[in-house]
């Protein structure tokens, strides 16, 4: 006792959270560490390791949250992480001292299979029976005392979502620190010992002289074991030894490929016999009733489409009032700060037309982001996401992807970055690559501001709210419509993948916790606001500067003279009348003059000149130089177009300070030269083309770098070139075909 307390303060221990997917590991991790790892009601939310710290008594412990796995024979990159951590193969982590095994209490037998495999690693273990609240409703009873007696390790019932069990878990680890405990060992048959001895005698892992038991098991049982690459001998030689070892099992009447599961399950059945009492009549809960509707042959598909439709309709129409408030806030700030800066026109312009206009135009879309993430979080936490994968698998399998691609793709509707990370759950590397390649086509939330701006200004006023919602829905569909054939080509001709198996567990429906939904919204909202303060702010200043310089103030006298002369020539007013009207800054004539001076300024600014150089590239899509500049400026991050257009129109004097909205500025924007002079720039075909361009283009530095990381530079370059080309073609087609019909 004394020695334990004496050495305790200096020690750091490592604890790994292991378990099947979707059992509540991350929820418990959050409870124990106070961190906020993402959780969700579908298998495969966590795809990489995450470390947090906690105190157990006065020992500080590193807790490692890991992806879920069904077995140690890893099939996908996320599962491989589990084995590598357990074997201490990551230098910065080191082998864990303890395992917290998180089991779904309502599915004990299946969950214990992995526990039994992990036991071969001889790491002391605590068994957490999480989701204890779901045991009774599933028609089961678990005899805890009997189980504790049989398993020989601490067994803790817990309810992660209510933070029940955390204290007991810590106490259990403490007890293991005093006396390590292990699951009862399997009694392997004699042939198994012969096989293991043979492997141990003939093979060794690269940097060590021996194989651990779990490594030997993987070599013996797995068809495509990654361990074979790690051995001192060549893979061919190793394969030979492995098949000799398997011979011992065969002689004993066992099929080596199924022997492991058979032996473990036999062991488990011995351990839990009589522990779980089932009442089959009770087993059909709410989940079955809901699924009878949502997965119904006819209704199921309709419900799926209707649900998606409602999401986009809500995103479009619920945000209005809040947007107005934000917009008013922007105008108010401009009115408050404006007069104070009258003495320094350049700073005034930087603050009012640059920062406030640019960042403000962007921030207006915060409510939409929040609403979208509320829905996404609801779909994920309720358990519907896995159903969506179930429904869509047929469609995806046709193009060479599978239902497992669905979750990454759906995540990409929020943001392609977590989406691409989520592809780590896909077993087959080629399917995974194909999914990564098409993920950026899903319409991420960063595209939302562009759609809302265009639809709000040009679709809704003309066609009404119904069409507005429909257009938004369709814009989210365009990327998918391109992604499916793209994936087909990639999997059929470039990667030549064979059709992939699809095995997935359907979770039970759950009422989402308000706390989780709220946190998701807060997180997404905060990301959005942070973006406004960083990249948007930064690019905003650059855009402002390139539009503000070089100054054309020296031309203003000349312009004034021509302006007055023109007005006099119209013979409506005398020169004196005109001059006195211009004295008053609120008169119509003053406005007209300001507009003239402003557009002269931006036309001759650096950005204006650049815009005219690049505009011909986009001319076939009907874009003027301002849109072209907006498009170019948005390559680092697509939202930038909003702030860019905001500044262009504000400096050009087009944004009426009272109404203060970019939307109106766009509506009033006209061609100033060329054959279309005097015609509106933004016609329906141009607007649709612009939205299609943004739907398809690869305009996100962060996505490109995550593709480099997950798939390599080659794929990132391909993705960029392919998406940009398609985007341009799409916009040109919309304009060229559209103008023939409108």
């Amino acid at each position: 006792m004394k020695t334990a307390t004496m050495q305790a303060p200096s020690r750091t221990i490592r604890i790994a959270l292991i378990g099947n997917p979707n059992t509540g590991k991350s929820t418990i991790f959050n409870n124990l560490t106070g961190l906020r790892q993402k959780t969700g009601n579908y298998p495969g939310v966590t795809v990489s390791r995450k470390i947090g710290t906690m105190k157990i008594g006065d020992v500080s412990a590193e807790l490692i949250d890991l992806p879920g796995a069904y077995s140690l024979s890893a099939h996908s990159p996320d599962e491989r992480v589990v084995i590598d951590v357990l074997n201490g193969r990551f230098k910065e982590i080191g082998k864990p001292n303890y395992v917290l095994f998180v089991a779904d209490a309502a599915n004990l037998r299946r969950n214990l299979f992995l526990a039994s495999q992990v036991a071969t690693l001889k790491i002391p273990m605590v068994l957490i029976l999480n989701q204890w609240d779901a045991v009774a409703p599933s028609g089961q009873q678990i005899d805890l005392n009997l189980l504790k007696g049989r398993l020989n390790i601490p067994v803790i019932p817990a309810i992660g979502t209510k933070d029940k069990g955390s204290t007991e878990i810590k106490k259990a680890v403490e007890s293991l620190m005093e006396e390590p405990k292990f699951l009862p060992e399997i009694r392997w048959p004699e042939s198994m010992h012969l096989a293991l001895d043979h492997l141990n005698a003939s093979l060794a892992i690269e940097d060590k002289d021996f194989l651990s038991d779990s490594e030997t098991h993987r070599l013996l049982f797995d068809t495509h074991s990654a361990e074979i690459q790690r051995l001192k001998v060549s893979p061919e030689e190793a394969t030979k030894e492995v098949s000799t070892a398997r011979g011992f099992l065969r002689k004993d009447g066992m099929n080596p490929l199924v022997a492991e599961a058979m032996l473990h399950y036999r062991h488990i059945d011995g351990l839990i016999g009589g522990v779980v009492l089932k009442d089959a009549k009770l087993a059909h809960g709410a989940t079955e009733s809901i699924d009878r509707l949502l997965l119904h042959r006819g209704w199921g598909l309709a419900a799926f489409i209707a649900m998606m439709y409602v999401v986009f309709q809500a995103v479009y129409s619920w945000a209005g009032p809040v947007m107005d408030v934000i917009e008013m806030g922007k105008v108010w700030t401009q009115n408050m700060t404006g007069p104070a800066l009258d003495g320094t026109p350049m700073l005034q312009s930087l603050i009012l037309d640059g920062v406030l206009e640019g960042v403000g135009a962007f921030l207006v879309f915060l409510p939409q982001i929040l609403i979208l993430f509320a829905f996404i979080s609801f779909l994920e936490d309720s358990g519907y996401m896995a159903r969506a994968a179930f429904i869509m698998d047929k469609l995806f399998s046709w193009c060479g992807l599978n239902g497992k691609s669905f979750v990454p793709l759906l995540s990409s509707y929020a943001c392609a970055i977590p989406g691409i990370m989520a592809t780590r759950t896909i077993e087959d590397p080629k399917s995974r690559l194909a999914t990564i390649f098409v993920s950026p086509f899903m319409s991420c939330s960063a595209r939302l501001p562009v759609y809302i701006l265009c639809i709000g200004a040009f679709i809704e006023p003309v066609y009404g709210p119904w069409w507005a919602g429909f257009t938004l829905f369709m814009m989210h569909f365009v990327g998918l419509a391109i992604a499916v054939p793209t994936a087909w080509v990639v999997t059929r001709f470039i990667l030549k993948t064979k059709s992939q198996p699809f095995v997935m567990e359907l979770p039970k429906y759950r009422t989402p916790r308000l706390k989780d939904v709220g946190f998701r919204m807060w997180e997404a909202g905060w990301e959005f606001v942070k973006k406004a303060g960083t990249i948007i702010f930064f690019i905003t200043i650059i855009i402002w500067a390139t539009l503000y310089f070089p100054r054309t103030d020296d031309q203003s006298d000349e312009l004034l003279a021509t302006f007055v002369a023109e007005k006099v020539a119209q013979k409506i007013r005398s020169e004196a009348e005109i001059m006195s009207a211009l004295e008053n800054p609120d008169s119509e004539l003053s406005h007209e003059l300001n507009l003239l001076l402003g557009s002269n300024q931006i036309n001759q600014s650096y950005m204006g000149r650049l815009g005219k150089v690049v505009q011909p590239i986009f001319a076939p899509a009907g874009f003027d130089w301002r849109i072209s500049i907006g498009v170019l400026a948005s390559y680092p991050a697509r939202e930038v177009i909003i702030s860019t257009l905001g500044i262009i129109y504000s400096l050009g004097g087009d944004v009426d300070e009272e109404a203060g909205s970019l939307r109106d500025a766009l509506k009033n924007s006209e061609w100033q030269e060329g054959e279309l002079k005097g015609m509106p720039i933004y016609t329906v075909p141009v607007v649709i083309g612009l939205m299609v361009f943004f739907a398809l283009c690869s305009q996100c530095g962060a996505t490109t770098s995550i593709i480099i990381k997950e798939a390599g530079l080659k794929w990132a370059v391909w993705s960029f070139v392919y998406m940009t080309t398609l985007a341009w073609l799409g916009a040109v087609l919309c304009y060229q075909i559209g103008t023939r019909f409108f």
């Binding site: 077995s71 037998r109 049982f221 199924v258 997965l295 179930f390 198996p501 567990e505």
Partner: protein
């Protein structure tokens, strides 16, 4: 012998043998679908494929092409 696809929706059966491609075998086994286990087909996707089978209270989604290799005997 019958395979999983010949079962009616909700009909209880016992697994006799699994004959799919090797590494899928392992996957299915680790999900608790093994010899002598009782299961039933509980859901069919609206588009006809995949299906979901219920084992030990958990529901596992499989494609029909994989389900074909799971040989069963109704109980």
């Amino acid at each position: 012998m019958e395979n999983l696809l010949s079962l009616k929706l909700g009909q209880l059966a016992r697994v006799k043998d699994i004959r799919t491609e090797n590494h899928i075998d392992q996957r299915i086994l680790s999900l608790g679908i093994g010899k002598d286990v009782q299961l039933k087909v509980c859901k069919i996707a609206p588009l006809g494929d995949p299906i979901a089978v219920e084992v030990d209270g958990a529901q596992i989604v499989l494609r029909k092409s994989e389900a074909e290799g799971i040989l069963v005997e109704p109980v």
